[in-house]
Assembly symmetry: C2
Amino acid sequence: MSMRTSYCGLVTEQQLSQTVKLCGWVQRRRDHGGVIFIDLRDREGLVQVVCDPDRPDMFKAAENVRNEFCVQITGLVRARPAGTENTNLTSGKIEVLCHELVVLNASVTPPFQLDDENLSETTRLTHRVLDLRRPQMQYNLRLRYKVAMEVRKYLDSAGFIDIETPMLTKSTPEGARDYLVPSRVNAGMFFALPQSPQLFKQLLMVSGFDRYYQITKCFRDEDLRADRQPEFTQIDCETSFLSEQEIRDLFENMIRHVFKEAIDVSLEAQFPVMQHIDAMRLYGSDKPDLRVKLEFTELTDVMRDVDFKVFSTPATTEGGRVAALRVPGGGELSRGDIDGYTEFVKIYGAKGLAWIKVNEVAKGRDGLQSPIVKNLHDASIAAVLERTGAKDGDIIFFAADKAKVVNDALGALRLKIGHSTFGKSHGLFEAGWRPLWVVDFPMFEYDEDDARWVACHHPFTSPKDEHIDYLETDPGKCMAKAYDMVLNGWEIGGGSVRIFQEAVQSKVFRALNLGEEEARAKFGFLLDALQYGAPPHGGIAFGLDRIITMMAGADSIRDVIAFPKTQRAQDLLTQAPSPVDERQLRELHIRLRQPEVPKA
Amino acid sequence: MSMRTSYCGLVTEQQLSQTVKLCGWVQRRRDHGGVIFIDLRDREGLVQVVCDPDRPDMFKAAENVRNEFCVQITGLVRARPAGTENTNLTSGKIEVLCHELVVLNASVTPPFQLDDENLSETTRLTHRVLDLRRPQMQYNLRLRYKVAMEVRKYLDSAGFIDIETPMLTKSTPEGARDYLVPSRVNAGMFFALPQSPQLFKQLLMVSGFDRYYQITKCFRDEDLRADRQPEFTQIDCETSFLSEQEIRDLFENMIRHVFKEAIDVSLEAQFPVMQHIDAMRLYGSDKPDLRVKLEFTELTDVMRDVDFKVFSTPATTEGGRVAALRVPGGGELSRGDIDGYTEFVKIYGAKGLAWIKVNEVAKGRDGLQSPIVKNLHDASIAAVLERTGAKDGDIIFFAADKAKVVNDALGALRLKIGHSTFGKSHGLFEAGWRPLWVVDFPMFEYDEDDARWVACHHPFTSPKDEHIDYLETDPGKCMAKAYDMVLNGWEIGGGSVRIFQEAVQSKVFRALNLGEEEARAKFGFLLDALQYGAPPHGGIAFGLDRIITMMAGADSIRDVIAFPKTQRAQDLLTQAPSPVDERQLRELHIRLRQPEVPKA
């Protein structure tokens, strides 16, 4: 005898006049005209249960149930009285006349109402078990499952094999900080939790598995921002014998498939491909949000000889940039709005925010309203108006500084205006899904602090074939076979064609100032593997948490993870991390630095 | 232009007279009659490539290739000359006449031949990348993938949802030793890697997800045996509102499905169900290998009053046992064989191994040959012969000691004889797949060292409803709603119906001598969750590594894991664990206990 015959949320008029057994939670109990109505909930939704007083035992039981009691009911499916149907529910045309009600497990009063939309995150994470009962959280995690399963289906039919790589790996302190795991058996030694399975998946290609994937946890011990977690999930993929174009096509198709199957969204048939240099030029970002209909205008060349040091100094300095952002209709922005934006760009290092309101283009200089226009000669003004394509009623913002500051500040301003109420009401934002590829990244960027080149992606990314000589002569000019998939301003995936020749890998290590001995100590196993006929290979990794967050329209990746950590890397539900026994530390050959062990 | 048109191993007579492009590794190069033959290998198998000297450039390239070179060839598919077909290969009816040969990546000479079957494990794990190129390892890992995927398909269609649970969890030192992860942000605190997602999956049931699964890594820092790894993979499942019987049926079906789909084995339609007490009685083991056609005979009651202390003392002592193992045809075992078995059972604590050879049953005492028969009175001899069903030519072994020693020693002897050449040639071993359920485990076993009851499964297992009172009065009598799935002597899965009522959970904690404060500190989040209408729930976890090891007929679980650890918990390929920088330790607020940091 089963405890139930159906999910609550799936009882429909198909079962009219049948006796059903249901198990679920009391969402709400109403007493109405001597009758008790119970909204009974399970993962599939709600059903209305009606308890009549003509069965006194059952009615007495029904009188005692409270919200979140777990109950089992047996009853007859009947049509709801005309006019009381609920079209929002699958079960909305029927109700269940209760014959028997068994309290499977009572509930103390929950600390909050499940439908309260204004709970603090601390409350939600502390009482995560109840928080997860909310329909939105149920939806989010089921969506997450559906996406993962669709990814598996797609990759399976494309010949990919899921191969598990180790969680207890070697610490190679490049990039982010490792989580370390002390070894008991090997005193004084440590494992690291993987930041990604990068090297293992490359080794699997050298082993000839040809197509690999894994949906797996990765770990980075970084200070957490809104969209980061200490442990996060990657869709990690690698292939052999494919060109960059073929790899991108394969995974573009995967994302298209998943969006269609999981949320019925048809992404465009061919994602735009943008060179990294163009993304920086037009949007100041390597992950531009193409929903925002605003672009930068390059003005560095125009401002070299103006009599205005704020512009001419960056314009004539190596690594400087002057750029503009024309905002159609921005003439109506108030002085207060502009002051707000000026403060905003300072977050990104800008010293100020010059602007020109374009009242009448036809009047040239006289048609402009601006604190800076007096400092600009006619040729530069003409160039600004022409290049930006200014129209009456626009505002043009300017940034002039080191290129990084200009890109960050003006890029952030672009997004802020685009996403603002003003932007949305002026056609500067177009809702929808705007994927693109950003390609042709530089191999290296110069780390001023360490005075050395560091890898933009990671040190295993292949340089462009025609740029291999730059590795030794001019690393800054060397471009990589690297590509990011960007969606609505988020990097959702990143990958590259990898180095498959030991000689090239060694050159890259040298360019990164990694001595031969150090390279061997850290990556000897990779260099060895590359010597045994490693195949050309490349791949990509997608951030599953981010993709689901976007699909679900959630505020935070914490809303698409069952048991996330807080921004202080704590699990408020189980109270992890926590102090441990001295005996445990002794077995691991470590001790705390503090004189005192914190109390539990 | 793609680098290849087909996998090497999949070229067949379907492509006769077509030009193909193939990429792969040189398995072997033979020079024969002025022509070069290359066996080209990829993950799908081998194809024969023929290089004629009439294309000098290509031929020169072919002359230079060596084993494990990664090459691309372009050529014409033609039939092999009659009589040279290879029926072991999918591509065995054809060969590819090479037009062009490109060395994609050369290989230094591998440290061993890929087809060498006698490599040490150290060699294989050190050069794992090459070891994984071997067809057997390719098969094992692809089988592993197929099994995991079939598990997913089955569970998906049964309404299960894969939900990821945390890897950075709370240390609750019950059971095995935790792997710890020091927290940087929370000084002096530690995460633990999960020994299983047990509590999280129960919390997900309380949250109403109804059916959960996850194929996930678990971690135990134990001293390693042949079939253990520090990190291992579980198929972890949990359901709500199902009875023990329904849960077992669901997962029995899953295993049946997976064996059929992955290796085309039809397991029996209904697995036998054996009570734990019967498994111990008949096989001395809670994971009996039913392929061995030998059973214990209980003799404790018969031996109470014999004038032979070796038997009568255990027979009259609380917790003692006397049992026999009849071996049909064992009369032909030599004195040397018997001495060998006597040594063998000493490993398990037995002090000796009594035996009786049954020459002629009809003659009673006079038909027996034995060093002990003189010590046994007629009634006991009659009982031995009758209960064991002895026949002429048998041998009967005896064990008499504490029950645990009898069970371990005689159980091990049963397996040893069953799997021996003697056993196999005498019908004592029947090859095949013999699954069963072992059920009705005791809740607790008494830990003599700690002088307290410990949980046989884990402290969240539900007692039988009718045994709840025993929790307070007589824990030793309390049976659990626990079940193991056993296959050919291996426990491949274990689970239970869980406690879903806070009051019962608290009683179990008390029976385990876990004080209220300690219980709250460790498991407060569970006790809290159970108060909010937790549903009846239960589940199971299967050991994926073991299942694949059995399916693949591998010697060790290390043969079904891409990058396993050695028995000293080391990764010989990447050299993990390894020493780390002092800076990293400082950030984690720990220091080594040794005065010296080991050198890298």
